[in-house]
Amino acid sequence: MSIRSIGGTSLFVAVALVVVGAGYPASGDSEQQRRESVGASDGWASRAVWACDRRKMVVVEGVRPDEKIPPARAQLVADVLMDLMRFCNEEITAKIAINQMITVSANGRVYEDYVPGGPLPIVKASFGEPTKREQMIWKAELDKMVAEGDRLFHSDEIGTNGVACAMCHPNASNTHPETYPKFQTQLKKVAVLRDMVNWCIMNPLEGKELPYDDDRMRALEAYILSQRAGKPLDAGRH
């Protein structure tokens, strides 16, 4: 490192430390909570370093609030804060663990791994990457619909003659949803999946067609598509 960069960085660190040392911004309860929420878990000490915009923060674990951050770790703090400043409008907290592993949390989301100099694991879209918890909830909701579709697909309640979809399509085989839309000769027109589902309900199953936005239709589609997940789209293939 050149003298100049050491100097510059040190200056920055000094400024940052001044900010830290000069006391925290108007300490409303939320600020206190935020400090505490990122701080001492498992009895470990940690101290927080704010950027000047009051929206970016780095929490260094293993350093007591009244302790000076060792130079190498301080450098890392500065690097991370500089990196985070790219995201002007976000509230971001980075955590540097004892073992120097860094994770970041954007706008209150779950902490994700982060490598300095690499891309930040933050999606700039209005709804970013789902947290692990969100993913779990969303999948549970999907599984519920797929399970209902599975049940209908295998039941005799969709038609009137006891024939179930699964009789010709065990595990939704031979449904080929990835090949729609295509000209479906039984319908004598180009069909999408729901057209064919309804045709099968009315013809081999001798039942009543479902409205396209009926929950049962949506569940059947969910089951069929889930069984064919990963198949490449191939519209028009017979």
């Binding site: 000769t185 039984q186 319908l187 004598k188 027109k189 009315m202 013809n203 067609e209």
Partner: protein
């Protein structure tokens, strides 16, 4: 390339274009009146449509002299005044000497678009079909094609027309077929209320017909065989199905099973010594010798069906109402019945709605053929 040479090239090109256009006009080539969004019919490469061929074909088509007793022309059974089917209203058509045939005469309208001709599809083109009835003993009655040619030569007034159409006054059976086919190919009609309704005119068909259209594509299961494909709106799938027509007129079960077993065993079907009526009911099977075609006949195109009573290959259904009843009960059971046939459980109202729908298939432009009516025997 300097400018003068390119100008010369341009002049040569222009002259070429002019010449081909002029020669085309001289040859009288015309375009078939096919709607813009419809797939045009296949025309054999060796028989492009010309006005000279059409005029010759028209004369041949309406000429009752081309039969052994002078009473039968193509138009006798395919009459332009009557939807191009038999105006005499019997189940099947009568030929020379009033001999009754086994088949109900299909319409010529839009026949050009079909993949095959005859109820059993045994001929692929209009050219091939047109010359068959000429040598059928119960239709035009000639013993063979050379006799037909000799007879036309003897009529004396065809030489110049053949010359104009084909370049020489030689009369051959191929040319006869090509001329008649050219005329038939021009008998095209697609403008019916159902088309206008589907194009967006909500007032084009009646409310019962609209309900009929829903049934046609739904509960009544018509569309899988008679569906209207946008790019080929004939109301037929051009395939062959056994729906059980005529199985009650002969001991079809026994005859059909015997015929299938014979073919499977490598025997010839004629060894069964089938009577003409029995053989006739085996339908497409006689052409392909495949058991799956046993008793199968071509799905007719439904345009103008209101005008072409009686119905089915043997004319056994007199009215549209009886046709709907036939389908409502699932056709006639037999060992080769198409598995798509099944009782439909239609109410009287639904049946009536379907009949109203059939009437919406009648073309609105049939007066185009009024001039032909004058030529009818």
């Amino acid at each position: 390339m300097d400018r003068s040479v390119s100008t010369l090239h341009r002049m040569i090109l222009a002259a070429f274009v002019l010449l081909t256009t002029v020669s085309a006009v001289w040859a009288g080539e015309f375009e078939l009146p096919v709607p813009a969004d419809v797939i045009p019919p296949e025309v054999p490469a060796d028989n492009p449509p010309t006005t000279e061929k059409l005029e010759l074909g028209k004369k041949l088509y309406f000429d009752t002299r081309i039969s052994t007793d002078g009473t039968v022309a193509c138009a006798t059974c395919h009459d332009p005044r009557h939807g191009f089917v038999d105006p005499r209203g019997k189940a099947t058509s009568a030929g020379v000497g009033g001999a009754m045939g086994t088949r109900n005469a299909p319409t010529v309208i839009n026949a050009a678009f079909l993949a095959s001709q005859f109820w059993d599809g045994r001929e692929p083109t209009l050219e091939a079909q047109a010359v068959q009835p000429l040598i059928n003993p119960i239709e035009h009655g000639f013993p063979d094609h050379p006799a037909v040619v000799k007879h036309i030569e003897g009529l004396g007034d065809y030489g110049p027309l053949f010359a104009a159409a084909f370049g020489s006054d030689q009369i051959t059976i191929e040319r006869v077929g090509q001329a008649i086919a050219t005329f038939e190919r021009s008998v095209i009609s697609f403008d019916a209320p159902i088309d206008r309704f589907l194009a967006g005119d909500a007032k084009a068909i009646s409310e019962p017909a609209k309900r009929g259209w829903e049934l046609f594509n739904g509960k009544a299961r018509c569309n899988t065989c008679h569906g209207r494909i946008d790019v080929l709106p004939l109301f037929t799938d051009d395939l062959f199905h056994n729906i059980g027509v005529g199985v009650q007129s002969i001991d079809f079960d026994t005859v059909a099973r015997k015929a299938a077993a014979a073919v499977e065993a490598g025997q010839s079907v004629d060894e069964l010594a089938l009577a003409d009526a029995e053989a006739s009911e085996l339908g497409r099977f006689l052409v392909t010798r495949e058991p799956k075609d046993m008793g199968a006949f071509k799905t007719p195109a439904l345009r103008n069906v209101e005008l072409t009573a009686p119905y089915m290959h043997d004319g056994s259904e007199a009215t549209l109402e009886t046709v709907i009843d036939f389908y409502n009960r699932g056709g006639n059971n037999n060992p080769y019945l198409d598995g798509g046939m099944r009782p439909l459980d239609l109410s009287d109202q639904e049946k009536a709605d379907l009949v109203e729908l059939m009437k919406a298939f009648t073309s609105s432009d049939l007066d185009r053929f009024d001039a032909l009516a004058k030529l009818a025997p």
